[in-house]
């Protein structure tokens, strides 16, 4: 089975979106229920910066990829041979 490599990027972006939504929940919760100290703000800022760095570095590293090239997925046969 062959699929365009672009499918992997879309899958990755979907994962990033889900993590982004959960990250928003965490940051909102930390702001609403947390005690507003410098440590809390610093850790929250570090988290946002770290997440942006991870996603940014990843996207920069795959800019030269030909996304239209197919990726071949071979399902394992588990030793089963089908003879006509």
């Amino acid at each position: 089975m062959e699929i365009p490599t672009l499918v992997l990027l879309l899958l990755y972006l979907a994962i990033v979106l889900v993590i982004g939504v959960f990250s928003f929940f965490h940051l909102y919760h930390a702001y609403r229920f947390g005690m507003h100290t410098r440590v809390a703000y610093a850790i929250s800022a570090a988290y946002i910066i770290g997440a942006v760095v991870i996603v940014g570095v990843t996207l920069l590293s795959v800019t030269s990829v030909d996304w239209t090239a197919p990726i071949r997925i071979e399902l394992p046969s588990f030793g089963v041979e089908v003879t006509p």
Binding site: T5, L8, L9, L11, Y12, I15, V16, I19, F22, S23, F25, H26, H29, A30, R32, F33, G34, M35, H36, T37, R38, V39, A40, I43, Y47, G50, A51, I54, V55, V57, T58, S61, V62, S64, V65, D66, A69, P70, I71, R72
Partner: protein, 195 residues
């Protein structure tokens, strides 16, 4: 504490925080240690791949390399979020003693939070428990605060210097203005109904 003095949700006007305690730092270190191992997992798998002579084109230009790069990135994003989650879980657990009450905030996950408070003059007993080698050497333990109610209300585990915290609670309770007969307070004088 440097910077702005912390407040907490539900703080009354005129209420003043006497002290605030979170769980012992070793609790956070235990949680972070597992992430250290999980961060190293992709490198361990790559080392295994090299030694086992598995042929796999990890060049980013190759489709397989793209899949690995995106997969590892998603893996580290999830680890980063889980680390932040555990930190919030640790940071939002607090024992707060104010000039009016004791507030026990316990966070269990993101959408499970318990806030209990106890007026200082309703404290009946404060007990400290230190069990095990690590708590003994690192000086942390459990504080049990018994109120006038039948059920024990406050149990705060892994609190650093529990004996000191106990003494501070008792000292603060003695300073609080009496409303009912409580710890260390004389009984209120009898009031004549007049007539």
């Amino acid at each position: 504490m440097n910077g702005r003095r912390p407040d907490f949700p539900g703080m009354h006007e005129g209420e003043r925080i006497v002290f605030l305690r979170r769980r012992h730092w070793s609790i956070l270190v235990q949680k972070l240690t597992k992430y250290l191992l999980l961060v190293l997992l992709p490198f361990i798998l790559d080392a295994f791949r090299r030694f086992s002579n598995i042929e796999f084109d990890l060049d980013v230009g190759a489709p397989g390399g793209v899949a690995v790069a995106l997969g590892v990135s998603a893996y580290y994003l999830v680890m980063w979020l889980m680390f932040f989650h555990d930190w919030i879980d640790y940071y939002l657990d607090a024992l707060i003693v104010t000039n009016e009450r004791i507030v026990h905030i316990e966070q269990r996950g993101l959408f499970d939070r318990t806030v209990a408070d106890l007026a200082l003059d309703r404290i009946q007993d404060v007990t400290v428990e230190t069990k095990g080698m690590m708590p003994t050497f690192l000086r942390y333990g459990t504080i049990h605060i018994q109120s006038a109610a039948e059920r024990e209300r406050f149990v705060f585990s892994a609190i650093p210097e529990p004996e000191t915290v106990k003494a501070q609670i008792l000292a603060t309770a003695k300073k609080s203005p009496p409303q009912n007969q409580g710890l260390g307070q004389p009984p209120p004088p009898p009031q004549n109904s007049g007539g």
